[in-house]
């Protein structure tokens, strides 16, 4: 049996999907987490139930990417049953989607989700609602799994029939539908005439494809007539009637409404009111940042200490027996393992834990809202803040997350800014490990301020250069909730997995190649010839160029290499504060690491990936050179 799960964004579809299939789908407390749809099958009662998790959609009007995808999937998957996941706390809006599913002749089962929250606020008369809509309704609480078994039972046993419930539209519209359905061309293979015609009148592009040109001309005439007579688009009127109907139903089935005004709401208000919201936002950002640095730093020292104690020079000793080639191989493995222990686990995993917590509380959309105006001036949608926050962890998921943006241009601007001006956790480790550690915190803060300025200037410039208006924000604000530990841990695990499967092999291969180049003195050949650049322009010891080359592979390796190159872990004994600053500044804006580059190429093509890399390298050296120049002048 093919079953579709559909519902408005942030209704808990993904959680329900996970509970039904046991397949983990990432869920967060903000709309639009499911960008790609998922599929999963389970066997229950001797039957194969194949579930399709469709992207969240408010209606089937077919405006946005999500809605078009949802409509198309609904039509093409030949679903036996559609489970409409409705939100008991936002019943009116859910009903409008259910109406449309019924209208299109689907066999609908309603999973009335979020019942736990709804019970605290009002009484929902489910039997009455069932008798109005004439479809089975199963109350659920997806998070706890309540009602999920009942839902499966209904799917297995109930003979779900298409409901004969009808929204009563304006007479004029009903008349049009009646007249049009008399025409033989109005029949489509899959949908009842009434439903398809209403979609056509509404202007849904998918349904428009199903009819002949001549017929569409007739429909267009009706649409014009309606516009002339009513001064209103027929699509507006159709939806106005749906909401009217939904409002009436909600009034009938909901009673004892208690106005929600608890502690959560007061906090929720504080996070949104500008005068309290902005300080809260700054505090949250600073909190995330400091936790990553301190918890990460602590974990790093523990893990590296353990590694040294347990493994020590095991690889190196092993390789010393086998000649230079084996040594390079061993060093490569050794360095990669250290990178995992010193960066991935402490900084990235910690970051994802915090991010998971933040996501589940529903706080992120509030940040989007507060920053939307400022982001707009940079040519970005407020939503861009989420990929940028992800970029504080790692650029790889940040680049993938740019998919939430509606146009390619916006995505590219966002990815570029994130790569150049948002320090990832490896860059943070470099900044804190060099200047922060040896020269003092103020020097590190100066780098962050420079990055912030780059962020603003770059955004503005790209916005001007690409000259187009970002799409505007229309975002539903979820309620604040307590995060659930299991979900947070689960998400952290899914997200960190990429580092072991994607980044680690790259890192391993790259490290070995670079070690080989080092071992055979190939790299030394560039140290001398490039010294006018390193020493003259940047004021850094020539040998540092090797560290910079390694920085392409992974940012934090540049720092580890400094230790190797200078043969001391007391970097301040070989480099001045100014030199440490220049080095950290270069690393902070330097080109994307190999993993980020690979993702950039996959998402935007090799040309744009190369352009972004070149620009960022140029910018990094320009900044480094300028800093050196200023230091030497003053």
């Amino acid at each position: 049996m093919e079953i579709g799960l559909i519902g408005q964004p942030n209704v808990g579809k993904s959680v329900l999907f996970s509970k039904l299939t046991g397949i983990g789908a990432i869920s967060s407390n903000y709309p639009g987490t499911t960008v790609e749809f998922q599929e999963g099958a389970v066997y229950r009662g001797g039957q194969r139930l194949n579930f399709h998790d469709l992207p969240g959609t408010y209606s089937l009007t077919g405006v946005s990417e999500d809605e078009t995808v949802a409509t198309r999937l609904l039509a093409e998957k030949e679903l036996d049953v559609v489970v409409a996941v409705a939100d008991a706390t936002r019943l009116e809006q859910s009903m409008v989607l259910v109406f449309q599913l019924i209208e299109l002749g689907f066999k609908v089962v309603v999973a009335l989700n979020m019942m736990d929250v709804a019970r605290k606020r009002c009484h929902v008369d489910i039997t009455h609602l069932e008798s109005i809509l004439r479809v089975p309704i199963v109350p659920t609480v997806a998070i706890t799994g309540e009602g999920v078994q009942d839902l499966v039972e209904v799917l297995l046993t109930a003979q779900v029939k298409p409901s004969d419930f009808k929204v009563r539209y304006d007479r004029h519209i009903e008349g049009m539908v009646e007249n049009l359905s008399l025409e033989p061309e109005s029949k489509t293979a899959r949908f009842p005439a009434r439903g398809a015609l209403i979609k056509l009148l509404e202007g849904n592009p998918f349904f428009a494809e199903q009819f002949s040109h001549e017929f569409k001309v007739k429909v267009e005439r009706d649409r014009d007539e309606f516009r002339r007579d009513h001064r209103e688009e027929i699509s507006v009127h159709i939806n106005r009637d749906r909401y009217g109907e939904a409002g009436r139903i909600v009034k009938e089935v909901i009673s004892n409404r208690i106005p929600p005004k608890g502690r959560a709401d007061r906090i929720s208000d504080l996070t949104l009111r500008p005068w309290t919201g902005i300080p809260i936002m700054l505090a949250v950002l600073a909190g995330v940042f400091l936790t990553v640095i301190f918890a990460g730093g602590f974990l790093e020292s523990v893990l590296l200490g353990a590694y040294n104690a347990l493994v020590g020079n095991f690889f190196i000793d092993l390789a010393n027996a086998g000649g230079p080639f084996a040594l390079a191989l061993a060093k490569g493995v050794d360095l990669s393992l250290q990178a995992i222990l010193s960066i991935v686990i402490p900084y990235i995993v910690v970051f994802y834990l915090i991010l998971g917590l933040l996501e589940d509380t529903g706080y992120l959309p509030r940040m989007v809202i507060l920053l939307d105006g400022i982001m707009h001036k940079m040519g970005l949608h407020g939503r861009a803040i989420i990929p940028m926050i992800l970029g504080m962890g790692c650029n790889v998921p940040a680049i993938l997350a740019t998919r939430v943006m509606e146009s390619r241009r916006e995505r590219l601007i966002l990815a570029t800014i994130t790569i150049m001006a948002v320090p990832c956790s490896a860059q943070t480790a470099v900044i804190m490990g060099t200047v922060g550690n040896y020269a003092g915190l103020l020097w590190a803060v100066a780098i962050y301020i420079i990055l912030l300025i780059i962020l603003l200037v770059l955004g503005r410039l790209l916005h001007k250069a690409l000259s187009f208006e970002p799409t505007s924000l229309a975002l539903e604000i979820p309620d604040l909730t307590w995060p659930r530990l299991r979900n947070v841990l689960w998400k952290t695990q899914v997200r960190s997995k990429d580092f072991f499967t994607v980044a680690f092999p790259l890192l391993l291969g790259g490290s070995i190649v670079l070690e080989l180049l080092m071992e055979f003195k190939v790299l030394d050949a560039i140290v001398g010839p490039l010294s006018p650049f390193t020493l003259g322009f940047l004021g850094l010891p020539p040998v540092i160029i090797i560290a910079l080359m390694f920085g392409i592979l992974r940012k934090e390796m540049a720092m580890q290499l400094l230790v190797v190159l200078f043969g001391t872990s007391q970097l301040n004994s070989v480099l001045s504060n100014e030199q440490l600053f220049v080095f950290a500044l270069i690393m902070a804006t330097y080109m994307p690491c190999l993993s980020a580059l690979a993702v950039m190429t996959r998402e935007f093509g090799a040309r744009d990936a190369a352009k972004v890399s070149l620009v960022s390298v140029a910018l990094a050296f320009l900044l480094g050179g300028t800093a050196h120049f200023l230091f030497s002048v003053f």
């Binding site: 002339r228 009513h230 539903e476």
Partner: protein
């Protein structure tokens, strides 16, 4: 205490003015015999009424040529016609009265409804231009809804923090924006509360139905609202 048209006229007098308005749409004058035929009364009664209305300066009556409306008369006739056709639209579309019956009913109601009600009906039917028979509905004196004197429609973003209103109209400048608004539930007839303006060019925080939504100014410009005169209006239910 409902405000009425500037001068109180009898129902019959209004019927006459309306009839002459119809007959003079083609530009000529209305002859008494035509008026009598259309109103199904004796020509003698017509002459009597027409002379009375001429004396009150609602029309100009010339023997053998017929009657034509003065500016004053035209104003009243148009108003009645407007009420009639709006009522028909309302009866047929909103409450589902049969079309065959709507004309007669509108004929009786047009004389008794207040200007206030007329305005509300106009708003609820979205300022329609044609009645169900396809005849044009005369424009109201105020021209457009944005300046509607009863309750001037204001863009959502002009509402003050904490203010409530009903959506009366969506500006159809860009179909994609309209559809986005519709899919988020911004349709005429629903109640919206503006909670907050986020500074630095940020969005508006609004409550619509059970949902809280952040809506960019660009969208909020397209949503025209009628401020709720009192704050005790029950929660946003669309009409029907």
């Amino acid at each position: 205490m409902f405000p009425q048209s500037t001068l109180m006229l009898s129902e019959i007098a209004e019927e006459y003015l309306e009839c002459i308005y119809d007959l003079t749409q083609q530009g000529s004058t209305a002859r008494t015999s035509d008026i009598a035929a259309k109103m199904k009364v004796a020509p003698a009664s017509v002459t009597e009424m027409v002379q009375k209305l001429a004396a009150d300066q609602y029309l100009v009556y010339e023997k053998y040529k017929g009657a034509s409306l003065t500016d004053e008369g035209l104003l009243i006739a148009r108003k009645i016609k407007r009420k009639h056709r709006l009522l028909e639209r309302f009866l047929v579309d909103v409450i589902g009265v049969r079309h065959s019956q709507s004309h007669d009913e509108a004929c009786r109601l047009e004389h008794v409804i207040s200007d206030e009600s007329e305005r509300k009906i106009c708003q609820i039917t979205n300022n329609p231009r044609y009645c169900p028979d396809g005849d044009p509905i005369p424009e109201c004196e105020d021209g457009d809804c944005i300046n509607c004197p009863g309750d001037p429609a204001v863009p959502l973003k002009d509402l003050k923090a904490g203010e409530k209103g009903l959506i009366v109209y969506l500006k159809c400048e860009d179909p994609a924006s309209i559809r986005r608004l519709i899919s988020m539930g911004f349709v005429p007839g629903r109640e919206v509360t503006l909670e907050e303006h986020v500074p630095f060019g940020g969005p508006l925080l609004v409550k619509i139905g059970e949902c809280r939504v952040a809506l960019a100014k660009e969208y909020a410009d397209l949503v025209l609202m009628q401020r709720s005169s009192d704050q005790r209006t029950e929660t946003g239910k669309a009409r029907n």
